[in-house]
Symmetry: C2
Subunit: 572 residues, 2 copies
């Protein structure tokens, strides 16, 4: 590898992803030996005041992504390699070490396929086939020929080596660097605890410290060292600083939203338009999708600039991992879209993305029962619960096309994981094109001095709330309508102020299951306020196929139900 | 296939899983043609009052599982085949139709590996290689030889056929039925919209009705029918009714919990003990794990009866799908365990499990920061949010070993998806062995007439709450401690009654992120009550490696913080 020890995340340097994160003590030791920090610091492993954690995280300046949930590193390495080859057009290479146990994860095979499909010859993956899982032997044991066959069938250049033979390894890496048109996979047959007497290749040592055995083992290992003393080979720097400078700050829509009030536009269409606008503004904005681009409208970016769209096919784990890799070292601003329900396929990757301090933006379209006839398998009804529970996330729920465009612009500039929930059906444009939107700032959509209840909705249900307020007005009940814009952070202050002004009553209506969504965000936000009561309308069971408006009514989240809830809460 | 049209879910009949659920109109038509319901009913497709939904669900009596989120059917079929071969020891065969687009999902390859590893020669999967995805050509197009190589490398017997040639297909199915020791995969090269003039093999027809083209196409198709009139070949019944009767009702612990009050026992250990006890009581209780059995203690069942433990290795999607398949037609009572954070890997499968009306029990161990040094990648901090958001789920959070054993017993008898959250560290036994536990019934662990605040915790934080109550007592503040036992359903009545009795103040403390867990369950439950305020303590950012007790303190959920929160809320 070519890298600068003094600049661990140098943009032109080779990358290394330790997919088998539990092997991090070896990685820490290698960096210490390379001179990044004192070898003595290794004694602080897993201590509360050390960043040498039990699994790698980017709290360490030589780590790009958190690993430790297995089978994720290769997708990330693939994203880095895709960027190196296609955007940076630089010479850096990407290395990834995968454990044989984790190669049982289907995500690994999605990633090998991605790398071969996109001819990522700057990617080299090493499979450490040590035969032993945590609790028993892996299902393939030391059958390296089966690994070779699988890797070749998935399009990689596979090389089987004795993982303890340095010369074989060096040759394999040299061959990898000179192999064009496909990634190389080095299948390294190894023995866990090699040269540890009475431990090598034995079960029941996974994740265990040597304890009382340590002295004996270390004494033995010392006798095997051929060249004692400090290492004489030093890391080599990159041949060229050839990765271009990139600025991903202060991204803007190239032109403001331009809709007519009252016009019917789906927020997913506005997403596609906004994506193109920020891509016009910044050359490092990219989009990735899982064969849903004609539904999510990410295809608008593909049509605008084919090179900045990455088709990940129906493999959401690869989709998300690739995006996390592409975002590393601030090389790109990735927008990942698919149906919101299918993002659940990558919850583990998204969760790990938070640990990785990634800046990936997720777009979930076709949320809720409002998609209609396709039925429950296609309805995202737990997406808000999922993304709210991601550490440090920002969750947008735009109420119209203007809000959706601004959400995209804000997301591009927001650190951490963002999620924008967008709808399938067209809804009315309710905001003027110059409306200002801010993360954590709710909008009062409708108000009067005589309001008796606050109605809160998001996306399609914001429109149901507005309809309900109009109906309530007809029977003399003033209802204030609030659009939270971001569900996380939620604008607690605006909500509490307005709810108090109307006598402490609110109705929340959402196209989501009851748990973890907008309703619970609101009830949590007012939990320390006496004299505020909240009635919550949401989907309470598995829905079914049917026309969207019929479903909204059948599952209790249409304007009619909001009207009734408002009337009911006024009696409490 | 051999099956009884009159008994669509007959236990001795062959099974069919339509993994590419969007092709359901063809499946519905086949059953209508077989005589299950009038052909005219097919006109009700996707209507609100018809169960012929946009994607299949078990609302239809001939469907075992919901499909439509792609790449999931084969794991389910594998679970069915595993049960047929190893538990039912019956002759039925399992067929699964997979789309080529969805074969990009890694889960498909996990499932092929599972089936070959366990030699499931009663399983036959058909890959429909029609070349076209939703938005563009699949990455492999019509390259059937690559499919063949991949399937062979993953251990299947692969047969490539022209998917429109009935004779070739019949031969392939015959060969499949006579192939021993491995599953058969039929790679069927097909043309989407075969024989539809100007539509066949063309883009942009995915999921679209023919509309104005319909008459023209139907006229043309009619000219191709060689034998008009009703079908003359009828479905064949199974040769033998050889699947044994199974009773999975009223499952009991073979002996009650037997702990000493105050004894230190991790709830994960109690899980393993209870699993063996219900397995002693019912021969159809099985356990599945993803190479974590020595941490989750599911290995206790493996040691008790090796045949009832299914090792799924590090492939959580396969793990969950296999369990859903194993539970079909009430053949087994599966318990699926791994670290709770790794269950996020299968959120899509779990979500679909609810649509499938499955009765699978999930056990998530190593939840929260209390696991300590392994660090954030191994800490389940969003698991409650995930499982609460699953339609119809039951979420247990046992506070000690006695509660954990009873949770396992209750889960075995609870319909729908259940989740039991268990802890890594040992905690004190607080309940007598004869304590009665009920779904949806909280327990008041500590109370006095002078209580001023209610403290609510689960698992390790229940113990922090108890410690806090003892500390508060020393400074003259009475604190009532409540153990919800089930987070969903939550015992709203007991909570409200007790919180009102102490003056409307509660503190909830949980080892989970703020969103979607116990705290939000509580604030949602009291949302319609005036004069109740709730202070919520949870984890607010990505944690780190360190000793468990230090972490509980650092992240604000130790007894010390509960004491302070109680004091603070008394001032409000």
């Amino acid at each position: 590898m070519r890298y600068k020890v003094s600049v661990p995340r140098d943009v032109s340097s080779d990358r290394f992803v330790l997919s088998k994160g539990h092997a991090c003590p070896a990685l820490y030791a290698a960096w210490a030996e390379a001179g990044l920090f004192p070898v003595a610091d290794l004694q602080n492993l897993r201590k509360i005041d050390s960043d040498l954690e039990g699994h790698p995280t980017p709290r360490l300046n030589f780590i790009d992504v958190g690993t430790g949930s297995l089978g994720q590193g290769l997708a990330i390495a693939g994203g880095m390699a895709y960027v190196g080859k296609n955007y940076d057009k630089a010479n850096y290479r990407v290395y990834c070490l995968v454990g044989d146990g984790e190669s049982a994860e289907g995500s690994i095979w999605e990633s090998v396929h991605f790398a071969s499909h996109y001819k990522l010859d700057n990617l080299c993956v090493i499979f450490d086939v040590n035969r032993l899982g945590q609790s028993e032997e892996t299902s393939l044991g030391h059958d390296v020929e089966t690994y070779r066959r699988r890797l070749e069938a998935f399009g990689a250049h596979a090389i089987v080596v004795d993982g303890h033979d340095i010369e074989e390894l060096v040759k394999a890496f040299h061959t990898a660097a000179n192999t064009k048109g496909k990634p190389t996979a080095i299948v390294a047959k190894t023995l866990k605890g090699k040269n540890f007497p009475n431990i090598e290749n034995l079960d029941n040592w996974h994740g265990k410290a040597l304890g009382a055995e340590a002295d004996r083992v270390i004494q033995h290992l010392k006798t095997l060292i051929k060249n004692p003393g400090p290492p004489t080979i030093r890391p080599q720097k990159p041949l060229k600083d050839d990765a271009p400078p990139v600025d991903i700050s202060n991204i803007k829509l190239s032109s403001p939203p331009s809709y007519k009030l009252g016009e019917s536009v789906a927020t997913r269409q506005a997403y596609g338009s906004a994506l193109v606008k920020i891509a016009q503004n910044n050359p490092r904005v990219i989009a990735l999708d899982g064969d849903m681009k004609n539904s999510t409208f990410s295809e608008k970016l593909k049509k605008f600039d084919n090179s900045r769209y990455i088709e990940c096919f129906i493999a959401e784990q690869s989709l998300v991992g690739t995006a996390i890799g592409a975002a590393c070292r601030d090389r790109t601003v990735p927008f990942v879209s698919t149906f919101s329900c299918f993002l659940t396929r990558a919850f583990d990757q998204i969760r790990m993305g938070a640990i990785s301090q990634t800046n990936v933006n997720f777009i979930g379209s076709h949320c809720g029962i409002s998609i209609g006839e396709d039925g429950p398998s296609q309805m995202g009804l737990e997406d808000l619960a999922m993304f709210r529970a991601v550490a440090g996330s920002t969750v947008f729920y735009p109420g119209d096309a203007v809000a959706a465009e601004r959400a995209v612009e804000l997301a591009a500039n927001t650190k951490g994981i963002t999620f924008i929930r967008i709808n399938r059906p067209a809804t009315a444009v309710i905001y003027p094109n110059d409306q200002v939107f801010t993360v954590g700032k709710a909008l009062v959509v409708k108000k009067s001095d005589k309001d008796q209840v606050v109605l809160i909705g998001g996306g399609v249900t914001l429109h149901e709330a507005i309809t309900a307020a109009n109906e309530l007005a007809k029977i003399g009940i003033g209802a204030r309508v609030i659009d939270p814009f971001t569900v996380k952070p939620l604008d607690r202050e605006t909500l509490i102020k307005n709810i108090k002004e109307v006598g402490g009553r609110a109705v929340v209506v959402e196209d989501h299951y009851y748990e973890g969504g907008l309703g619970e965000a609101v009830t949590a936000a007012v939990a320390l306020e006496r004299n505020i009561i909240v009635k919550h309308l949401a989907v309470d069971r598995v829905p079914r196929s049917g026309p969207p408006t019929v479903l909204l009514d059948m599952f209790g989240i249409s304007a009619k139900h909001v009207v009734k809830a408002a009337q009911d809460i006024l009696k409490l």
